[in-house]
C-alpha cells in the first residue's frame, strides 16, 4: 500500500473504531445502538431543519479548525481558538450594537466581520509574539489567553454591557445581520444556517491556495518541515510563525461572525460552548489539511447536533466520548502508520 492510501485510510479507520466502541457503550447503557444511530440520522440529514443545524455547526467548526490548522503547518499548536472566538464574538456584537441604523447592510456586515477578524487575529498574535519574542510555549500561552479572554468578556458583559437581568448584550443593528438561508431562499426551515457557510467554504479554498499554491505557503511549509533548512535559505521563521497565528486567529474571528451575526444577533455568556476546542479535534482528524477540514467538520457537526437530538434517550456525553476517541485513535494510528509505513 502506498503512502497516499494509508493517509486516506487512517481517519476512516479511526472514525470506524470510535463508532464501534461507542456502539458498545450505547449497548452497555441499555439502548439499541442501531435505533439511536437511526434516530440521529433522521434528525440530521432526514430533516431540512436538522440539516441546517448541522450546516451551522459545521461552519463554526470549519473556521476554528482553520485557526488550528494554519499554525499547525509551522509546528505551532494553537489551543486558543476558543479565546480567539470569544474575543471575536464580543467585538463583533459590540460593533453591531454601536453602528448607527443608517449604515447600509453590506457596510455593516463587512465592518462587523472585519472587527471580529481583527479581534481574533490580535488575540492569537499575542500568543505568537509571546512565543517568538519571549519563548513562552504557545500551548501554555494560548491556554492562558483563553482564560483571560473569558475574564475580559465576562467582566465587560456583566458589569457594562449586559441588558438588565439578562446575560446578553443588546441586539446588533438589523443591517449587520448575516441573512440566513431560510430568510433568503426558504431552505433549511428556520434553522440558523446562514450565508457564513459560503464564506467558510471560500476561506477553506483560500487557505488551500495560500498553503499549496503560493510562494508564501511554500516558505511557510518549509519552516514547518525543516526550520533549520528554512533559516539557511534565508526564510524568516519567526515572521511565518506570527502570520500563521494571526491568520489563524482571524479565521476564528470569522467563526464568531457566524454565531453572532448569523444566528444569535447578540453576545451572550457561554454562547461559544467550547466549540473552539472542538476545532482542535476537527483539525487533527483532517491532518491540518484545508480541504479535509470540510469533511471532518461535517462529521463533528453531525455528532454534535445529532447527539443533542437523541439526548432524551442517551446522554449526549456519549458523543463527546466518540469525538475524543476518534482523535486519540487518529493520533495513535498515525504513529503506527509512521512506524510501519
Amino acid at each position: 500500500m502506498n503512502r497516499k492510501s494509508i493517509k486516506l485510510l487512517i481517519p476512516l479507520l479511526s472514525i470506524l473504531s470510535a463508532l464501534v466502541v461507542s456502539t458498545l457503550i450505547i449497548a452497555l447503557a441499555g439502548r439499541d445502538p442501531l435505533m439511536i444511530f437511526g434516530k440521529m440520522f433522521h434528525a440530521t440529514f432526514g430533516s431540512a431543519y436538522g440539516s441546517g443545524q448541522v450546516l451551522f455547526r459545521m461552519t463554526t467548526l470549519i473556521f476554528v479548525a482553520l485557526a488550528v490548522a494554519l499554525p499547525f503547518q509551522v509546528r505551532l499548536f494553537n489551543i486558543g481558538a476558543e479565546g480567539q472566538l470569544l474575543m471575536g464574538a464580543f467585538v463583533a456584537a459590540m460593533t453591531g450594537t454601536m453602528l448607527p441604523p443608517w449604515v447600509p447592510s453590506t457596510a455593516a456586515i463587512s465592518l462587523c466581520i472585519m472587527t471580529a477578524m481583527a479581534a481574533g487575529a490580535s488575540w492569537a498574535l499575542l500568543a505568537g509574539v509571546l512565543r517568538v519574542r519571549f519563548g513562552v510555549n504557545e500551548v501554555i500561552g494560548t491556554i492562558m489567553l483563553n482564560f483571560i479572554a473569558q475574564g475580559i468578556t465576562g467582566y465587560l458583559l456583566t458589569w457594562h454591557f449586559a441588558l438588565p437581568s439578562t446575560v446578553h448584550t443588546a441586539p446588533i443593528t438589523d443591517a449587520a445581520i448575516i441573512p440566513s438561508f431560510s430568510a433568503l431562499t426558504g431552505w433549511f426551515a428556520n434553522s440558523p444556517a446562514n450565508l457564513s457557510t459560503l464564506l467558510a467554504i471560500g476561506m477553506t479554498l483560500l487557505f488551500r491556495i495560500l498553503l499549496f499554491s503560493s510562494r508564501f505557503g511554500y516558505e511557510m511549509r518549509a519552516v514547518g518541515l525543516q526550520p533549520d533548512a528554512a533559516r539557511y535559505a534565508g526564510i524568516n521563521a519567526g515572521m511565518h510563525a506570527l502570520t500563521a497565528m494571526g491568520i489563524g486567529g482571524a479565521a476564528a474571528g470569522l467563526g464568531a461572525a457566524n454565531i453572532v451575526l448569523g444566528y444569535r444577533h447578540f453576545y451572550e455568556a457561554g454562547m461559544t460552548g467550547g466549540v473552539g476546542f472542538a476545532g482542535i479535534a476537527v483539525a487533527l482528524l483532517a491532518g491540518a489539511r484545508p480541504l479535509w477540514i470540510l469533511l471532518s467538520a461535517l462529521f463533528f457537526g453531525v455528532l454534535e447536533y445529532g447527539g443533542l437530538t437523541v439526548n432524551a434517550l442517551i446522554p449526549k456525553d456519549i458523543f463527546m466520548i466518540i469525538e475524543a476517541l476518534t482523535i486519540i485513535l487518529v493520533i495513535a494510528f498515525n504513529a503506527l502508520g509512521r512506524r510501519f509505513g
Binding site: 503560493s214 516558505e219 533548512a229 539557511y232 534565508g234
Partner: protein
C-alpha cells in the same frame, strides 16, 4: 593480558545505512584504548552498542570473555560498563552525593537513603583516584571539569570496570584536560579498562595505549599509540581512496572577491573558535581549507552565511568586494552574489519532503524570474528544472512528484549544486563537504562542475574533511588549526605537489595536527 571487551564482526544498520560494518576490536584490561575518526565515522554508534543503547544488527560482544546481549544500558551497567557522555547526565539541583548515588541508591525503596555512608564511600574513591570534590556541593555550582569528576565518581561508585568516555575533553580547558588525563592514567593503573572517543590526535598520543581509527563505519586500523604519529593518524582518518580522476587545469585567478581579515569568533561560553583568521579568495580560484573537524570550519561558514549563533562575539572583517558580510542575514548575503552549500545536506540545504522541483527552487524562490502572481511560474520552473536535471545528469523520473528524499545522496547533492551554481550573478561559493554521503559515480560529476564554475570565474571556499578532495580541487590550500590558518600552500606548490598526492597528504597532515 586479558581482554576486557571483545567485539566480533559487529554491524549496525539503520534502514539501508550502515553505521557500523563488520567491526572487530579487542580492548585489553588495564589499558586506555582510543577510538578516533571524523564526525559520522560511527564511533558514537559503536559505543552506544557497547553501552546497550543500540542492539547490533549482527555480530557479538564479549565482556571478560563471556558473550553478552544487552537490551538496555541497565544490562550494560550490571556487566560493569560505565559511560561518561559528552553532555553530562547530571541533575544540577542535586548535590554531588545525590547525583552519584542516583539510580543506585544503597537501600531499599521507601527506606531512608544512607547519605552519610554513601558520602564516606565517595570520599574514599575520590582520594584513591585524586578526584578532589566537595560531596555536599550542588552540581549546578561546579565547573565543567568538576562535573566530569562527578561523572567519573558515579562510575566508580557503581564499580564499573570498563569506562567509556565520549569526547571528554571537548568542553574542558587545557588545564582541566591535563588533570583529566592524570585521572585517566590513575584509573588505568588501578586496572580499569578505558575506551576513549575523540578526534583530537594530540590527546590520543598523550594518553592512549592503543588507537583504533574508524572511517565510514569501519575500523581501518588498530595500532599502538607509541608507534604512530599524528600525521599517520590524520591520514588514516581523513584520507580515502576516491579514485579522483578530475582534471584540474591551471587556474588564472582574477581580483580578490573575499577578504577575511583577523576574524575572531568567541562562543557565548567564552571559547575561542576562530582566532585572527586571515585569508583571501580571488575570482576563479578554489581556496581549500584542510583541517580536522572542529578547528573552526563550522564557525567560519556560519559567520560568512550570517547564521552565527546568538551570543557569539565576532571580531575582525569579512569583506565581499569591499562590503562587510558580518551582521547580514542569509537572504541579504545571497543577494550580494554569495551561495552556500552547507555540509549537512538534509538538515540545512533541502526540504526532504518537498518534491525535486520544489527543492530546485529552495532558497532561490525569491527570484523574480520564477514568479507569477502570488505563486510560481510553472513553465519557468519546469524549464529550469529540466535544464538542470539534464546538465547535471540527475537521475529522477518525475521531478514534480518525486519527493527529494526518494533520491540517492549523490543525486540530492547534484540538485543542491545545480541550484547554487546556477544562481544569477554568483561570485562566491561557500562549499562544505561537497561529496559527503555521495556515491563514487556522482563524485566525478560534482567535481567537474566545481572546477567548471571556478574556470568561469567563481571564487570558491572549499571546506572538506577529505584531504584527497582538497588536493584534487584546490588552487591554494590553507591549513586550519585551532581557529587560524597555520600554513598556506601557494598555487605553484599545490600544482607541483598534486601529482604526488600521498606525500602531499602527509605534509598537510603535519600542519593540521
Amino acid at each position: 593480558m586479558t581482554v576486557a571487551v571483545r567485539l566480533s564482526a559487529l554491524s549496525k544498520k539503520f534502514g539501508s545505512f550502515s553505521a557500523n560494518s563488520n567491526i572487530s576490536l579487542s580492548v585489553e584490561k588495564g589499558t586506555i584504548h582510543a577510538l578516533v575518526g571524523e564526525n559520522g565515522a560511527g564511533k558514537s554508534t559503536l559505543t552506544k552498542i557497547i553501552y546497550g543503547m543500540f542492539r547490533p544488527t549482527s555480530g557479538e560482544i564479549f565482556i571478560d570473555g563471556k558473550a553478552v546481549c544487552f537490551s538496555s544500558p541497565r544490562d550494560a551497567i550490571h556487566s560493569g560498563i560505565g559511560m561518561v557522555h559528552q553532555h553530562f547526565m547530571l541533575i544540577p539541583e542535586l548535590t554531588v552525593t545525590e547525583n552519584i548515588i542516583l539510580g543506585n541508591e544503597p537501600c531499599q525503596i521507601f527506606q531512608r537513603i544512607p547519605l552519610k555512608k554513601s558520602k564516606a564511600l565517595i570520599l574514599n574513591d575520590a582520594t584513591a583516584y585524586g578526584l578532589a570534590l566537595d560531596p555536599d556541593a550542588l552540581v549546578g555550582s561546579l565547573s565543567i571539569g568538576e562535573q566530569q569528576r562527578v561523572e567519573i565518581l558515579k562510575l566508580l561508585f557503581r564499580r564499573a570496570a570498563i569506562m567509556i568516555f565520549d569526547e571528554p575533553t571537548a568542553v574542558l580547558t587545557p588545564l582541566e584536560t591535563e588533570r583529566f588525563f592524570a585521572t585517566l592514567r590513575s584509573l588505568r593503573d588501578k586496572g580499569k579498562s578505558i575506551i576513549l572517543i575523540t578526534h583530537k590526535l594530540d590527546e590520543v598520543l598523550a594518553v592512549a595505549d592503543m588507537v583504533s581509527v574508524m572511517r565510514k563505519g569501519e575500523i581501518v586500523g588498530t595500532i599502538p599509540a607509541a608507534s604512530t604519529t599524528k600525521g599517520e593518524l590524520a591520514q588514516m582518518m581523513v584520507g580515502r581512496s576516491l579514485l579522483l580522476r578530475v582534471t584540474n587545469p591551471p587556474a588564472s585567478p582574477g581580483e580578490t572577491v573575499l577578504d577575511i581579515n583577523k576574524l575572531c569568533f568567541r562562543t557565548k561560553k567564552g571559547v575561542d573558535r576562530l582566532h585572527d583568521l586571515s585569508f583571501t579568495i580571488r575570482a576563479g580560484e578554489i581556496y581549500g581549507i584542510a583541517g580536522v573537524e572542529g578547528n573552526g570550519q563550522s564557525e567560519l561558514l556560519q559567520v560568512l552565511w550570517g547564521l552565527a549563533p546568538e551570543g557569539a562575539s565576532i571580531g575582525g572583517e569579512a569583506l565581499l568586494r569591499g562590503c562587510s558580510l558580518i551582521g547580514k542575514k542569509p537572504a541579504e548575503i545571497a543577494r550580494m552574489g554569495v551561495s552556500h552549500i552547507p555540509e549537512d545536506r538534509l538538515r540545512h540545504a533541502v526540504i526532504a519532503n518537498y518534491t525535486v522541483s520544489e527543492n530546485f527552487l529552495f532558497g532561490r524562490h525569491r527570484e523574480r524570474s520564477f514568479h507569477q502572481g502570488t505563486g510560481f511560474n510553472s513553465s519557468a520552473v519546469n524549464g529550469y528544472t529540466e535544464e538542470m536535471i539534464a546538465d547535471y545528469a540527475v537521475s529522477c523520473n518525475s521531478p514534480n512528484r518525486q519527493p527529494l528524499r526518494a533520491l540517492s545522496g549523490g543525486n540530492q547533492q547534484k540538485v543542491v549544486l545545480a541550484r547554487e551554481l546556477s544562481r544569477p550573478a554568483i561570485s562566491l561559493l561557500l562549499l562544505a563537504q561537497p561529496t559527503r554521503g555521495v556515491d563514487i559515480g556522482a563524485i566525478e560529476t560534482i567535481h567537474q562542475k566545481i572546477i567548471e564554475a571556478r574556470t568561469n570565474g567563481v571564487a570558491i571556499l572549499l571546506v572538506s574533511s577529505e584531504l584527497e578532495e582538497i588536493i584534487a580541487l584546490s588552487t591554494r590550500i590553507g591549513c586550519l588549526y585551532k581557529g587560524s590558518i597555520r600554513h598556506t600552500f601557494s598555487q605553484e606548490e599545490v600544482e607541483l605537489k598534486r601529482d604526488s598526492a600521498e606525500a602531499f597528504q602527509k605534509e598537510i597532515g603535519l600542519h593540521i595536527t
